[in-house]
């Protein structure tokens, strides 16, 4: 048993779970490394164990898939095929002559480090929500749509009694219906795109009837909860002093500009807002994997161009949970085939066919739910673009217009936008738009802040010898 090849799967969402189960079924020892206390990722996020919930709030078909994954994982955990390292926050994956070392920080405090050795790696690191700035977006009460959903799914709490859900993209529908079902008054669902244009993609849609049924189900629930839906509208400003108390919404014309005379104010304590998703690519970039735009580039078998590294799910391009499951399955089987010296025959797998249809579907969604043209023009000079470093749009515009910055990196050096705690994850799309250049990944060397004493213990001596004399004080990272 001990000489079976070892695969590290980073991330226990749909892609990571599918990869881990597929690889373990092929006789590979899998270590599933994930930051959350429970498997499932953002999509299958379950109420915290201490809340002792008996019912999942997911629609029926998602519940069935989750049960299948959960049962499969439990079987593999019991059989020793998969080891699940929960509460492990991976900050770097290192490639060396013998394979890979995964470096993680333990628990919510993330002060102590641990390493996992593996022969190959599947990166299933998922994505995070993109939010484009607008006046008032830093007020308490303005949250990401996915964040409101995560707090509801995991903590069974609502951000406030009256909620506006706004932005663009298919995530807004389940967020609005989920908040309404949990007792919030959803005062409006504000979508900047016009979902009716999806009809132009009829051929792609008809290949996936389950997706259409899912959309129709959400629409019916919105109607049942009497949620007013404003398509072709945007939130132009969030109002409040110490906390949000209202938003102003307005209609867009065909060119994406605000239609005069359409502004109106909606009272609300919460604005759940999102404009799509961005892939987490830090670990892939550190390993030297080539990126396509903001996503990890993979081949038909979900291999990156770094030998021994596979990637699956949102990290390779945002496309939803079903696509992540298909890609994860392919990555797990492919990795297992290589590690055990078998041919992979990836093209014959059913998952490869569903992957193609799901990718076409997500491309159609991307075309429909793009942020409206001219959105960046609505960012006022005093709107903070970088939330961490409190950099206003006027400073970014001055760096571009007066100082000649033409890319995100130069803007960062001149203004500090992107230098704070989140390392540009929140501000990168807006900085790129204001600088007039294509968005690029943040390109940070570590995927999360790392305490200095953990870094000190990862030098060349750390793997072969005893750890360096570790200081007792653990709070060096706070300074």
């Amino acid at each position: 048993m001990a000489d079976r090849p070892r695969l590290a799967v980073i991330g226990a969402g749909p892609a990571g779970l599918a990869a881990a189960l597929a690889a373990a079924a092929s006789g590979v020892r899998v270590t599933l490394v994930d930051s959350a206390p429970q498997a499932g990722g953002q999509f299958y996020r379950q109420p915290a164990a201490g809340l002792a919930a008996r019912r999942s709030q997911a629609p029926h078909h998602h519940r069935r898939t989750w049960r299948r994954l959960r049962t499969g994982l439990d079987r593999q955990l019991a059989a020793g095929g998969v080891t699940h390292l929960a509460d492990h926050h991976v900050w770097c994956v290192e490639r060396h002559t013998d394979g890979f070392t995964v470096h993680a920080l333990l628990g919510p405090a993330q002060e102590d480090g641990v390493t996992v050795d593996a022969d190959a790696v599947v990166l299933a690191t998922g994505g995070y929500e993109k939010v484009l700035p607008f006046p008032g977006w830093t007020l308490p009460g303005v949250v990401t749509a996915g964040g409101a959903q995560a707090m509801l799914k995991g903590g069974l709490v609502l951000p406030g009694r009256t909620v506006v859900v706004a932005g663009t993209g298919p995530l807004l529908l389940p967020v609005a219906t989920g908040l309404a079902a949990a007792g919030a008054r959803v005062a409006a669902l504000v979508e900047s795109a016009d979902p009716k244009t999806l009809a132009r993609h009829a051929r792609v849609l008809s290949a996936l009837p389950a997706k259409l049924a899912e959309g129709a189900g959400h629409a019916a629930r919105l109607l049942r909860h009497r949620v007013p839906v404003l398509v072709g509208h945007v939130v132009v400003e969030a109002h409040g002093g110490e906390r949000l108390d209202a938003v102003t919404v307005a209609a867009l014309d065909a060119g994406g500009r605000v239609r005069p005379g359409t502004r109106r104010r909606i009272a609300c304590g919460t604005l759940a807002v999102g404009h799509g998703m961005l892939p987490h690519t830090d670990l892939a970039a550190t390993l030297g994997c080539r990126l396509d735009g903001v996503a990890v580039r993979v081949d038909d078998e979900q291999r990156t161009d770094v030998p021994g590294v596979w990637a699956a799910g949102e990290a390779t391009g945002v496309g939803g949970a079903d696509l992540a499951l298909a890609e994860g399955h392919i990555a797990g089987r492919s990795a297992a085939a290589r590690l055990t010296g078998r041919r992979s025959e990836a093209r014959t797998w059913a998952a490869a066919r569903s992957r193609a249809a799901l990718r076409a579907f997500s491309a159609a969604l991307d075309a429909v739910y793009a942020p409206p043209a001219h959105w960046a023009e609505r960012i006022t000079g005093d709107t903070l673009v970088c939330r961490c470093e409190e950099v206003p749009a006027s400073a970014v515009r001055a760096a571009v217009g007066e100082l000649g910055a033409g890319d995100v990196r130069t803007v960062k050096l001149l203004t500090r936008a992107g230098m704070g705690w989140c390392q540009g994850r929140m501000c990168a799309p807006a900085v790129a738009a204001l600088a007039g250049c294509p968005p690029t990944p943040a390109g940070t060397p570590f995927a999360r802040p790392v305490p200095l004493d953990v870094l000190a213990g990862q030098g060349p001596d750390a793997r072969t010898g005893p750890p360096l004399d570790a200081p007792d004080g653990k709070d060096s990272h706070d300074d």
């Binding site: 930051s35 206390p37 953002q42 109420p47 915290a48 164990a49 201490g50 809340l51 002792a52 919930a53 008996r54 019912r55 999942s56 709030q57 919510p108 405090a109 995070y128 929500e129 830093t138 007020l139 308490p140 009460g141 303005v142 949250v143 990401t144 996915g146 964040g147 409101a148 959903q149 995560a150 707090m151 509801l152 995991g154 903590g155 069974l156 709490v157 609502l158 951000p159 406030g160 079902a181 949990a182 007792g183 110490e242 906390r243 939330r387 961490c388 470093e389 409190e390 704070g420 705690w421 989140c422 994850r425 929140m426 709070d475 706070d478 300074d479």
Partner: protein, 99 residues
């Protein structure tokens, strides 16, 4: 219908923590952020530049807007840290090292 009823949750007994000295109830399994939301508190940090109020933004540990001081330790992400009985949660001013 509320969220707990919807999920059929039967958590253990609530316990008490403090937020800026005021007692609030929390449930086992909740994060610090969830407990504060349940108590109607949505901001618990002041930025180090302009002193503006902040609370949860991304809710999944990416944005660092929800930083808070728990039991004297600043810069804890409220959306990730589980709440424990007796926790003393305080509004974080600036870097959390100012006073």
């Amino acid at each position: 219908m509320n969220a707990k009823e919807l999920a059929g949750a039967r958590p253990g007994p609530a316990f008490t923590v403090t937020f800026d000295g005021r007692e609030i109830d929390a449930l086992p399994g909740q994060t610090v952020a969830a407990a504060l939301w349940a108590a109607g508190v949505i901001s618990w940090r002041r930025t180090r530049g302009a002193g503006r109020p902040r609370g949860v933004f991304c809710g999944i540990g990416v944005c660092f807007d929800c930083l808070v001081t728990v039991n004297g330790r600043p810069n804890q992400r409220a959306c990730l840290v589980p709440v424990r009985p007796g926790d003393a949660i305080r509004t974080q001013e600036g870097t959390g090292h100012d006073g």
